[in-house]
Amino acid sequence: MLQVDRLVKRFGTVGAVNDVSFEVPEGSFFTLLGPSGCGKTTILRCIAGLERPEGGRIAIAGEEVFSPSRFVPPERRPIAMVFQSYAIWPHMTVFENAAFPLRYGRNRCHPKELRRRVESMLERVGLAEMSHRWATQLSGGQQQRLALARALLCEPKLLLLDEPLSNLDAKLRASLRNELKTFQRAFGVTAIYVTHDQSEALALSDHIAVLDRGRIQQIGTPRELYRHPANAFVAHFIGDATLIPGELQSDGKGIMTPLGRFETLGPTQAHAGSVLVCFRPESVRVSTQPPTQDIALPNTFSGIARSVDFLGDHLEVAVEAQSWRLKAHVPNSLPIQEGQELTLMVPQEGVIVVPSETDYSEEATPSQRVLNSR
């Protein structure tokens, strides 16, 4: 449905998007995820035609809409966009706002047909009773639904959403998140969603592209990204992760780190030499037994509990192991005190090996060698 190929966009000398490529299959929900300023909005605006890229190729539904020799303006691309500000026109009623694209847009229709379609759409998003109110009299959540209704009435092949939930409070955000997903499924529309909120991305998406500084770090399903992050940035941006540098040993299975030897089930042959050992807080097993001589066992090390937070169903323990800080989730039945010495073990299936790319070496300076504090 959408192909983006080696997209490049600069503002002056600043490269906002560098060599970004991805493909989105029809009917799926695709998310661009990354920290603030990484170029998510810029990519979305390039797809919409609101920015003209410096290079690359974009095709929507098999039709090339941008290439170095071709530029299709936004009004002739089969898209609709929901903006972060919602962009509800304040001088019109709810009905007029929703009807505007059908009156003057790409897919116009007969006035009678228009009334029927707009009314049924407002019905579906729960705004039917307020269709004659001024748009400015809507609450934030209602405005968001109006923006969505207006976009869906354009009958886009591609729906572009730029952080549509970021202006809402946490509760509303969670409920509208589900609604959004339901609408997308019901209309069968392909959606490109932009967010910097990883939990939103994980909950909504079929596929996620993780971006940093204008480059794609990894593309995959939420599960893939969580379980097999391609690099330290992804590991660290999606969920909590502890990353410890080490050297891959010649047996191809063990990694020597300052905390001892780690072994993994996952593939390591792709890497060589310096790597990072990565594990998630829920993979860490904690025991209050004092360390024995068995400490020489692989995947096992000792540490001191620095803080213990009660999070209901589990405890979150911040552990200091040598100079490293890491998090562990442990059953709430375990009686752990701050300052207590602990033995920690990460099972082989919980150990992920990622390349230690120099890009992120600055984050691995001794002062903050732990990458799990986001």
Partner: protein
């Protein structure tokens, strides 16, 4: 979709290059070039030829070019006097306007003074009552022999009574200063209101004496705003025409602006070279002032922290002084209104003297006015010129701000704003010498007024359209574009409705100032193309003051009506 070549595609669609302004870094679309070139050309044609013609005329002696006109001016015996008068007049009125404006702003914004509405009444009077009417009102009140106040004084106190003469340098300074005091008030009340109280309190808690805090912090922080208001008033006073003409000429206090007009009016054969040379000297001086100002304020952004958050200042309690403050504010308002009020009264009297007030009030002046030759024609002309000018200026300003938004045509605004430097009478002269040399006959038609007013007033319309357009979030347009809506529909269905208030405000303001403009009209009219301002001038030169008052009353009523309309639109008409 069929493959098209790049050029046609670009011609069809100028591209949004960035979110706020569309920087044309590369691949400039043809449409953008079209807009750019068209608007530059239009404004260059509107603004530059008058300037070029006035310079050219000043250098032309018969067939040859020479600097003789300038040499004659510098060698003439009046030149030092003229120059000195102009400066004293401008500096004096600047002091009066800035002083009164500051006093009003301080009373309104930072004290618990009563009667703050008086300040706004003064502002309203300043906007709605044409300057010319106020000057004539002052003459009716305070002319040396005939002014009603002086008549009353000698009536009650006998022959040796003291008299007040408004036709003097002092009178001119006061009247011109009163003209600009409301503007100074408006421009200063913002900075004074936003002055962060914390900055002052920090100093007071640090143990500094209150007066020292005021001196070192408050005034230091306000200084840039005060300076800019003073520069603006100074330029306005140098450009001033009504006061020098109506008060300075009878009082024998010539300044450059009035002598350009009088020189051309009184001479048997008009000496355009000398008049133009005066005009060029004025323009050069004003550019110099603006350049100096820009140089002095080049670090102005350092003071931007001054405009603090929305903390409302705890007003200084004046105690008993609250009443005095209120009285001062209302006194200023009354002084603004007084001349027009007296003119209304005089329009119902048989003679200019108030002695007959008891006798009878009469409509005779209004009947005489109706029979006065050319009066109706001048009203019609003014209305037509006002309609055309206001409409065209608003459309031009809209096109300019639209082009700036979509195509990043930024240099255009300095070109559009150039006429702000022109004194009205110099603009008038420039248009005249240009029209006399053009092959098409502009002189003697109302179109010459429209062209001159358009050049002069479009910058004011821009002050409405540009901020209004900036306030419209670009996403409001972009969401329509992604929905497939074309630019024409976006302009007519989205932008125009959202801009409606600003456009109406601009239209009314331009209409108001163009139907009463005197300086720009002063050299452009003929017997067949009178406008109300020049008609009033003619009546003043050779007419009956009571009929003149009736005409003035009609004009004032018109101005107040339009002013009220503007006030209801949110008081935006007070931009200067």
């Amino acid at each position: 979709m069929i493959e098209k070549d790049e050029a046609t595609l670009r011609a069809e669609q100028p591209v949004a290059q960035s979110r706020w302004t569309l920087v044309l870094s590369q691949g400039v679309p043809w449409a953008a070039w079209g807009w750019r070139a068209g608007l530059y050309l239009l404004f260059a044609l509107l603004v530059l030829p008058p300037m070029a013609f006035v310079v050219w005329t000043s250098l032309k002696q018969g067939q040859a070019f020479s600097l003789a006109a300038y040499r004659d001016i510098f060698q003439s015996s009046e030149w030092p006097k003229l120059w000195q008068n102009t400066l004293v007049f401008a500096l004096g009125s600047t002091a009066v306007a800035a002083g009164l404006g500051l006093l009003m702003a301080w009373l309104v914004e930072r004290t618990d003074s009563l009667g703050r509405s008086g300040a706004y009444a003064a502002v309203f009077a300043g906007v709605a009552i044409p300057g010319m009417i106020r000057v004539i009102g002052w003459i009716l009140l305070l002319a040396p022999k005939t002014g009603v106040v002086n008549l009353a004084l000698s009536h009650w106190l006998g022959p040796g009574a003291p008299s007040v003469n408004v036709e003097s340098m002092g009178g001119m300074i006061l009247v011109e200063g009163l003209f600009w005091a409301p503007m100074a008030f408006l421009l200063l009340s913002g900075p004074i209101r936003h002055l962060d109280q914390g900055l002052e309190e920090a100093a007071i808690t640090a143990g500094a004496a209150r007066w020292r805090v005021h001196l070192l912090i408050t005034w230091r922080l306000l200084a840039p705003s005060i300076l800019s208001v003073m520069v603006l008033t100074f330029i306005r006073a140098i450009q001033g025409f009504e006061v020098p003409l109506f008060l300075g000429v009878p009082g024998n206090v010539p300044v450059i602006a009035s002598s350009i007009y009088i020189g051309l009016q009184e001479a048997f054969v008009p000496d355009y070279a000398t008049a133009s040379a005066y005009g060029v000297l004025m323009l050069a001086f004003l550019f110099l002032v603006l350049g100096l100002y820009a140089y002095v304020t080049r670090h102005a952004s350092r003071y931007q922290t001054v405009v603090g958050k929305g903390f409302r200042y705890q007003p200084t309690s004046l105690g008993r002084g609250r009443w005095i403050g209120g009285a001062v504010l209302w006194a200023i308002a009354v002084v603004q209104l007084l001349p027009a009020l007296y003119m209304i009264l005089a329009s119902f009297l048989k003679t200019a003297s108030i002695a007959q007030v008891g006798d009878s009030l009469t409509w005779a002046n209004y009947q005489a006015l109706l029979q006065f030759p050319g009066i109706v024609q001048s009203l019609v002309n003014s209305l037509i010129i006002g309609l055309l000018t206001a409409t065209a200026a608003v459309l031009l300003a809209l096109a300019v701000s639209w082009a700036m938004r979509w195509y990043g045509v930024h240099g255009l605004s300095s070109l559009v704003n150039l006429p702000l430097v022109f004194p009205g009478v110099v603009m008038s002269l420039a248009m005249l010498v240009m029209a006399l040399r053009l092959p098409i006959s502009l002189y003697g038609t109302i179109w010459i007024f429209v062209v001159a007013y358009l050049a002069t007033f479009t910058p004011y319309a821009l002050r409405y359209t540009q901020p209004a357009l900036l306030q419209i979030h670009p996403e409001l347009e972009e969401v329509a574009r992604t929905g497939g809506v074309g630019q024409g529909v976006i302009l007519t269905r989205l932008l125009l409705p959202l801009l409606r208030r600003a456009l109406m405000g601009a239209w009314i303001f331009i209409f108001l100032i163009s139907i009463r403009e005197l300086a720009v009209a002063s050299l452009l009219y003929t017997a067949h193309t009178q406008v109300i301002a020049t008609q009033l001038l003619d009546m003043w030169v050779n007419g009956n003051l009571n009929v003149l008052s009736a005409f003035g009353t009609v004009i004032t009523a018109l101005g107040v009506g339009v002013g009220l309309l503007m006030w209801r639109l949110g008081g935006r008409g007070v931009q200067v």
